[in-house]
Assembly symmetry: C2
Homo-oligomer: 308 residues x 2
């Protein structure tokens, strides 16, 4: 059972989709990563910051999944990071209606002592300096450092982002961000360029069009499961990252073959996440459901052509 | 060795992409379908119409691939169908700059006697009435009728299109067209609706995002091979259709498992088509190259997770 260290937001989300809207509900990258990773036999911890306005039941929900929250700072009288967004009809794009950093503005992550030797470090989307600070606190070199980021940091903290990218093993970004980071339209070329920046592995997420894993000359592709209904895409990317890093922490083998499996597990879990608002679907997700859908993934992609 | 009957345009294309432009070159749906199908052991024929302005060498190119052209009417003094288009920078969209129907305006397809018992009929994109006329000329019920179409006919001849769709086994359309035809955004639902209209199998082409095959409750997905360079997408969809129908004609087994293989072969051949202008890459494509890239497809998609 490997140790997984998760860094990212625990937050309030308020979401509107064509199918309905929510009040403030539990959200945040670390939340989704943690819930997804809890599907595997891992010893995981979240490093984050929240205000004391965050209902205790939200924290309990994570604790009940055996996630160590000793690294979550709770600021007395502070307010928790809040994001409000509205999805367009095709669910592929969204408008951010509000972002309140609140306590996140002064976040100095502190890695708990007993996770300074984590096997896998999953750096959720945050300021690159915050991500870097976590790497610097590790006592032993982790087997794998995975970083998720987004275009916001390419626009506003590119130098800092390039700095942290030098120190990681896997980057997960979406296709538009890969193009922005490299000025290459071809994702094959973009992945080559990104590997030169540091990471040995590049995961390019294409939303409903699946995800690509690049490593040297090798490429692997996992489709998104075609669904009758996509209800709310919020957290799908983080759930992917959680499944990916959780599986690797549980299996403890760093190889292209095993990273392929991790991509499949990440895609599989993300396919559940989008079926309900926020964390709803992930909270009570059963192992049997997960396993059953893995069969669907296999049927979806496996073929039997005799090769010459 | 099965018989494959191909109906579609043999045409002049004039193409501009971000990488260059052409004069009038050989194009047309039947051309691309025929070239792709010629990669398999098939006995194929094209039914089409051209003017005598089409260089004899273009027809020889097809004849040299053992494609029977006795069903290609050559109109004396007539002009061949001509299309001119310009691709945008991302190559995912294009503007049609000119369309001259010419001889195609009076096209009455005549199926050669020796192909009225074809095993597979591949109806390339044409007016639905033209496609229907070919079906009506068949003496024996083909093992499989495959129809390709596009949004133009949904806009301008929807009733006729719905009529021909009742009589076919497989439809190949792109994602936007599947949505237009059914008013369903979810491709899973769209494919369900289309199956109710007639075809037992629905292939939804997503360009660089791959292709989906639907049949009852079953779904299969083939990615597009991630390429360093996509040079000219013209003919990729037709090449897919040619690989798909050619493989089925050669293997003579109509089952979901074999249609999955056909989708992979179609995707594989389409990945070559886009590497050069027009038919350039397909003209001299070697079996070894095709087989080698099939290995890449396998590596790209196959994984080994133990399922419970």
């Amino acid at each position: 059972m490997g140790k997984l260290l998760i860094v990212g937001t625990v937050a309030f989300d308020e979401i509107e989709t064509p199918f309905g809207k929510t009040d403030k509900i539990l959200g945040g990258a670390a939340t989704f990563i943690g819930l997804a990773a809890s599907q595997f036999e891992v010893d995981s911890a979240i490093v984050s910051i929240v205000g004391d306005d965050l209902p205790e039941e939200y924290l309990d929900l994570l604790r009940n999944k055996n996630i160590d929250l000793s690294g979550v700072e709770i600021v007395k009288g502070g307010k928790t990071f809040y994001w409000k967004g509205k999805y367009h009809n095709d669910l592929n794009s969204r408008d951010t209606l509000a972002t309140e950093l609140n306590t996140l503005a002064d976040f100095n992550p502190v890695v708990p002592d007993n996770f300074k030797d984590a096997d896998i470090v999953m750096l959720g989307n945050l300021h690159p300096n915050t991500q870097m600070s976590v790497i610097e606190q590790m006592k032993a070199t982790p087997k794998l450092i995975v970083l998720d980021t987004m275009n916001f940091w390419m626009d506003n903290a590119l130098e800092e982002l390039e700095q942290v990218i030098k120190h990681i093993d896997v980057i997960t970004i979406n296709d538009a961000e890969a193009r922005q980071l490299t000025d290459e339209y071809s994702l094959v070329k973009a992945a080559e360029e990104i590997q030169k920046m540091g990471p040995k592995y590049v995961v390019i997420k294409k939303g409903e069009h699946g995800a690509l894993l690049f490593h040297n000359e090798k490429v692997f592709f996992a489709p998104a499961l075609p669904l009758e209904e996509v209800f709310d895409p919020t957290g799908a990317g983080d759930t992917f990252a959680g499944g990916f890093s959780g599986y690797l922490a549980a299996t403890d083998t760093i190889s292209f073959a095993n990273l392929k499996n991790a991509v499949i597990h990440g895609s599989n879990l993300a396919s559940f996440c989008v079926e309900r608002f926020g964390t709803r679907r992930m909270q009570d997700l059963k192992r049997e459901e997960v396993n059953q859908r893995l069969h669907q993934f296999k049927t979806l992609t496996q073929f039997d052509i005799e090769l010459k």
